[in-house]
């Protein structure tokens, strides 16, 4: 499979169809992989794909990132199904044009949740929760796919993937608050959760604004809670569930539990799943005349 991807990447670079192919390469130790920008056809052999390819590479397509200023006209990108959903969402939000990107899709069998858990194979003990019941292991929107794409039923509703969400929702408010208070105690506000997110698109993040300062920048309880709750709210209906915020958190706080619950709420109320359609707008930036709330009519 990877040979077909490499050949296609080589051709794209040789023909000048893309300026760069963003993919995965071997990392600095055997359990890790790393994002790589391949610019020369002779370097395509660095590209790999296996269950250690966790990173959601579409973050490099987000216009907030400096890489998009490098003057690339068209970017080739290797994506597993969930990453391609992130690309679709970026396009649906006008953060990217479909003709700016060439998507090399890979058939995915799931990835590990953390590099630390890689022991040579993928199994129930180390598979990321997002890979359970995933309906885009055969990706949706691709320009190249190695082999035939079988038909997949993707009509099912969004379901939360981590059992922790149900566990938290079953708690009393004060218990749930205590859980987050204790976990957030570790947060030092490095903003890794923001920087890895393919959908954090603001040129100036609300937490970096100083006049006025909406969110206290210090990592005390108020600063931490207001940051994480705001982050979760800003991703409602937009998060595609790559889980990178949780994986990237250096203090191992499961911040994507908020996003999972939000997706469930959006599904329940609007029947919307992010990242499946280029045209359909997410519910919080549009309205429908048959909205169930009266105030909008």
């Amino acid at each position: 499979m990877i040979e077909q991807i490499r050949n296609q990447a080589r051709q794209l670079l040789e023909n000048g169809e893309v300026d760069v192919v963003i993919g995965y390469a071997e990392g600095s130790d055997p359990t890790r992989t790393t994002p790589v920008f391949v610019r020369k056809p002779e370097d395509v052999d660095r590209l790999i794909y296996d269950a250690r390819c966790i990173n959601s590479l579409p973050l490099y397509l987000n216009k907030r990132h400096e890489y998009t200023k490098k003057g690339w006209k068209k970017t080739g990108i290797i994506g597993k199904g969930c990453d391609i959903r992130a690309i679709t969402q970026l396009i649906a939000e006008n953060q990217l044009r479909r003709d700016e990107v060439y998507i090399l899709g890979v058939p995915c069998e799931g990835v590990v949740s953390h590099f630390e858990k890689w022991d040579g194979s993928l199994h129930d003990g180390n598979r990321a929760s997002k890979c359970t019941d995933c309906d885009v292991m055969i990706p949706l929107d691709t320009d190249f796919f190695p082999g035939e794409k079988p038909e997949v039923d993707r009509s099912g509703p969004y379901k939360v993937t981590s059992p922790k969400v149900a566990n938290l929702m079953g708690m009393e408010n004060d218990q749930r608050f205590a859980f987050w208070r204790d976990d957030f105690d570790r947060c030092f506000k490095c903003y890794a959760c923001r920087e890895v997110c393919p959908h954090c698109s603001c040129n100036v993040c609300i937490t970096d604004e100083t006049t006025p300062s909406w969110i206290d920048p210090a990592a005390h309880k108020k600063g931490v809670f207001s940051w994480h709750l705001t982050r979760a709210m800003h991703l409602v209906g937009r998060c595609t569930g790559c889980g990178e915020c949780t994986r990237a958190c250096p203090m191992d706080i499961q911040v994507d539990l908020f996003n999972q619950r939000m997706k469930e709420i959006v599904q329940e109320n609007y029947g919307y799943k992010s990242g499946y359609s280029l045209e359909e707008k997410h519910p919080l930036i549009t309205y429908k005349v048959d909205d169930r709330e009266d105030f909008i009519k």
Partner: protein
């Protein structure tokens, strides 16, 4: 100073004795992943205050996620309160507690980092002292514990340390086989702690056995780099624009994890947290990896690309720190490697520089 031994199974009792002596005891504690947390959760080892010796992981696990840094240089700290009355502003002091603290089970890399922080926060040359840091430092005793199982990201031996170094330590523990721990009393503060533990200490430690145990662990380190040529190479300003910086650094996403996890990174910001006519002036951790860290009011940003920000971080560790503070900027703990979401690896830079320096 003296040596002794202690049984590993008595460490819980040791913590109890320290707690009973009215010390604030900080020790590593594991928050294990539960089945209900789902497959995305992992075990979390952190340094936390413990109230008894019942639940601690001194000598277990490798490195707590947080280092000793946050117990000396607080994540956030109110400097003073203020209140505006017409044109007048009242400055109101804020009360700070500086309890006598002992941090038990500190790994040698973290202990070595304290001298690096100290050089910044009590800079004798500049005649400047950060009283918050120095008062905490004075009232904190460090009990180190030699590593037994370094992982693939550890590289302390590349920066002039070792898994059994006692630099920055007051009282140093090294496992020497079986249930036995070799104890070295290194400072007066360490002696005070040893006296509290007297009922658990026995005889004299075998220094030879301790050296042997340390050397055996050193053998397990696999990530070995030559840091010696780095400073000279960085001193050559032509290399400031070397192609390496962008090639290795272009994948960096500027998340700042490395700086917040780093035991020697110490940058901070100060803001006024205002509410109506009063508020607090607060000091809190900042990071050179943020794009607005060097953003000027004019809109100009001298570090306008992420790779330049990482270049600054590398220079800070291997050039600025030794030059300005005569201390090491990197202690080889490997947290920045473990924590990086895109596998940007400081030791790759070290290897590349060594290769370039060798021509």
């Amino acid at each position: 100073m003296r040596t002794a031994t202690i049984q590993k199974s008595d460490l819980g009792k040791a913590i109890d004795l320290l707690v009973q002596a009215d010390l604030r005891v900080i020790a590593p504690r594991l928050q294990p992943r539960l089945e209900e947390d789902g497959p995305d959760a992992i075990d979390v080892l952190t340094l936390v205050e413990v109230k008894s010796g019942e639940n601690h992981q001194v000598g277990e696990g490798l490195l707590p996620l947080n280092g000793v840094k946050e117990f000396l240089f607080a994540k956030h700290e109110p400097l003073f309160a203020y209140e505006k009355r017409g044109k007048k502003i009242d400055i109101i002091p804020v009360h700070h507690e500086y309890p006598r603290t002992v941090i038990v089970g500190v790994r040698p890399c973290d202990a070595a980092s304290i001298a690096s922080l100290n050089a910044v926060f009590s800079d004798a040359n500049a005649g400047f002292e950060d009283p918050f840091f120095t008062r905490r430092r004075e009232r904190t005793t460090i009990v180190t514990y030699s590593c037994t199982a370094p992982d693939a990201s550890c590289f302390c031996t590349s920066v002039d340390l070792a898994p059994d170094s006692s630099r920055g330590s007051d009282l140093h523990f090294t496992e020497i086989g079986g249930d036995l721990i070799h104890v070295e009393v290194l400072t007066e503060a360490g002696e005070a702690i040893a006296n509290l533990l007297e009922s658990l200490l026995e005889g004299e430690g075998d220094q030879q056995q301790r050296e042997k145990a340390g050397a055996a662990v050193k053998e397990k380190l696999t990530r070995i780099r030559d840091a010696a040529p780095i400073k000279d190479w960085l001193d050559n300003l032509d290399n400031f624009d070397d192609e390496m910086w962008e090639r290795l650094g272009e994948k960096c996403i500027g998340c700042g994890s490395c700086t917040f996890l780093c035991p020697t990174c110490h940058c901070f910001d100060i803001v006024d947290e205002n509410k109506g006519s009063k508020g607090y002036r607060v000091k809190f951790w900042d990071s050179c990896q943020f794009d607005h860290f060097t953003l000027h009011a004019s809109g100009h940003n001298p570090r306008d690309w992420q790779y330049k920000r990482y270049r600054n971080r590398f220079n800070c560790k291997f050039k600025i720190y030794p030059e300005k503070f005569e201390q090491q900027g990197c202690v080889g703990c490997g947290r920045c490697i473990r924590g990086c979401p895109v596998n940007l690896d400081i030791t790759e830079y070290m290897a590349e520089v060594a290769a370039k320096a060798a021509g």
